[in-house]
């Protein structure tokens, strides 16, 4: 039953879709519980299958430890999104404009997208890879455009769907060339058959462009700020973690598995992309006023750090990248949980609006500060440890200049993250400010994600576990064979 987690998620999606038709409006709270329970059971089943390896459908669906680590990320992101959207979908927010409708469909679409991401990392064939990528992306178009009465939301959805379809067409053209060069859609066969040729470079360029869109790598990042700002905030949170992790999974499959044989040359491509991505993301984030736009550029610069894990043909790259991904999703979700809490209660989304939060809600402001510090990479929080591993990968691959650039960028990012901390702790309180009531759902989310962001950095065993389990998978032998 290797595919059980995916099947559970899909079954939960369909059950919710059907129940939504029959349930009376006041009983629909159970739909959210069902969505959460479905994801939780799938997560339990995924954790339980650690150490198992196996394949289905003639090797087109493979479960190994790398796949399991990624699936845990997708499931955690899905569960957090259910929790974050709870108050908005049940209409419990003080700010009426931020309430969302149609919760049955919302959960269904969210679960389908999660299932698509889980299939993505298990695919070993261009066809299944492409289908699962689209299964994860197309539901996200719908989620972004969720609030159809809000023109900002519609515009964000329109921009996302046009640029998303464009990027997937470009990606598909690259995959087509790959198929033409190797005569097969099986990833293992392709990796044996490809040789250096201009057509391969064209294919790599198109695949990078297509997947750079999902990962918000500069220069394919233009959609991010608009979509992040326009989308409902829980969806923005989901986009910033799950969609990015799916992009990393796709890059891992194509660049590590398929092009691993000729990996040395891609290093410089990733180094340049990482440099421009983190620099531009950081510089533009400094001048942002809207906090969701600000988080968009912060996420862009984080993507720049993340792809540093793909430098070098040695085994440390992937565990470092996975560890940073975990640190990043927990940290980012802390910040988004606080943003959602504040918007739910006041409807405010500007950085200036956070002034004096430390005096009205000191614990929440403290959680936000921890999250922002972890994103900036301040020890001993998980963001610092993650960056440490990633930078050491870059330096081991011989990119010392990139480590320098990344260190400077971390310093710049500290400046703009501190802008929010300054608003919360130093600026005077707003005139009408009172202590805001936090709902139990959001309070729990903030508590759990904050604990994650803090303890991932302090407990060393987590990185060790990733390293050991990943080393046991078949991916390891591919890389070590290349390095020799």
């Amino acid at each position: 039953m290797l595919m059980l987690p995916e099947l559970i998620v899909i079954a939960a999606g369909f059950i919710i879709l059907l129940l939504d038709l029959f349930l009376a409006e006041e009983k629909k709270n159970i739909l959210g519980t069902l969505a959460f329970a479905g994801l939780l059971i799938a997560l339990g089943r995924t954790l339980f299958s650690f150490g198992q390896q196996g394949e289905l459908f003639g090797g087109r669906f493979v479960v190994d430890s790398v796949a399991i680590w990624f699936k845990i990320i997708f499931l955690l992101a899905g569960m957090t999104t259910v929790a974050l959207s709870w108050d908005r979908l049940t209409g419990k927010t003080t700010d009426i404009a931020s309430r969302m409708k149609h919760r049955g469909e919302f959960y269904t679409i969210l679960l389908f997208s999660t299932a698509g991401m889980m299939y993505l990392i298990s695919s070993r064939d261009l066809v299944t890879l492409y289908i699962s990528l689209e299964l994860s992306t197309i539901p996200l178009f719908v989620l972004v455009a969720w609030d159809r009465d809000n023109p900002l939301c519609g515009e964000a959805g329109l921009k996302y769907v046009i640029l998303g379809a464009l990027s997937s067409a470009v990606l598909l053209y690259g995959l087509g060339i790959l198929y033409g060069l190797s005569g097969s859609t099986d990833l293992a066969t392709i990796s044996q058959k490809i040789t250096h040729s201009p057509a391969l470079w064209l294919s790599v360029a198109m695949i990078t462009a297509g997947i750079g869109f999902k990962l918000t790598l500069v220069p394919f990042h233009m959609w991010a700020a608009d979509v992040y700002q326009g989308a409902p905030t829980p969806v923005t949170a989901h986009l910033s973690v799950a969609s990015k992790a799916a992009g990393m999974a796709f890059i891992f499959l194509l660049f590590y598995r398929v092009l691993g044989g000729a990996f040395q040359e891609w290093n410089i491509l990733f180094a340049v992309l990482a440099t421009i991505t983190m620099t531009l993301g950081n510089l533009v984030a400094i001048i942002q006023q809207n906090i969701k736009r600000f988080m968009a550029f912060s996420a862009i610069s984080q993507a720049g750090y993340l792809i540093m894990g793909f430098l070098g043909p040695f085994p440390e790259g992937l565990p470092s990248m996975l560890f940073y991904l975990y640190a990043y999703i927990f940290t980012n979700l802390v910040v988004f949980a606080v943003i959602i809490f504040y918007a739910n209660e006041t409807g405010r989304e500007n950085i200036d609006d956070y002034r004096g939060l430390s005096r009205t809600n000191p614990i929440i402001a403290g959680a936000m500060m921890l999250g922002l510090f972890s994103l900036a990479g301040i020890p001993p929080l998980s963001g610092f440890v993650g960056k440490f591993f990633l930078f050491s990968v870059a330096s081991k691959a011989g990119f010392h200049w990139l480590v320098g650039v990344a260190a400077i960028n971390s310093t710049i990012s500290l400046y703009y993250y501190l802008r929010i901390v300054r608003q919360m702790y130093i600026e005077p309180t707003m005139e009408d400010a009172t202590t805001l009531q936090i709902s139990p759902m959001l309070a729990g989310t903030i508590a759990i994600t904050t604990l994650g962001a803090v303890f991932f950095g302090i407990i060393p065993f987590f990185y060790e576990t990733i390293n050991q389990t990943v080393a046991a998978s078949d991916w390891w032998s591919v890389i070590t064979a290349t390095a020799r």
Binding site: V127, I131, R148, L152, G154, K159, I162, L166, Y173, G180
Partner: protein, 100 residues
């Protein structure tokens, strides 16, 4: 029999036409048509490769691409519809509330 290169060149030309259409046209529906054109250009290149390589997988891939293109069109057109209800326009230059 038409040489494979000719089909691939046609596919590249169609793809480029689609990209230019997305960048230059201002009506959302036409932009969506251009994206469909790009996907069909990819289908053409898959057909050409499948014939040259004498393999069936390329042909099977195309069926999936057609399905995905249809799903994408459904989502895209419904978003366009909901935007049109609000704004009564389909000109992309007027969708500019989100900016720096």
């Amino acid at each position: 029999m038409i040489p494979t290169q000719h089909v691939l060149i046609l596919s590249a030309v169609l793809f480029t036409t689609g990209v230019l259409g997305v960048m230059l046209r201002r009506n959302v529906i036409v932009i969506f048509m251009s994206i469909e054109l790009m996907l069909n250009a990819v289908n053409l290149s898959f057909v050409a490769f499948a014939r040259a390589l004498d393999s069936m997988t390329g042909i099977i891939f195309i069926f999936f691409i057609i399905v995905v293109a249809a799903a994408e069109a459904v989502v895209g057109l419904s978003i366009i519809l909901s935007i049109y209800r609000n704004q009564k326009t389909l000109n992309v230059d007027e969708f500019n509330w989100l900016k720096w």
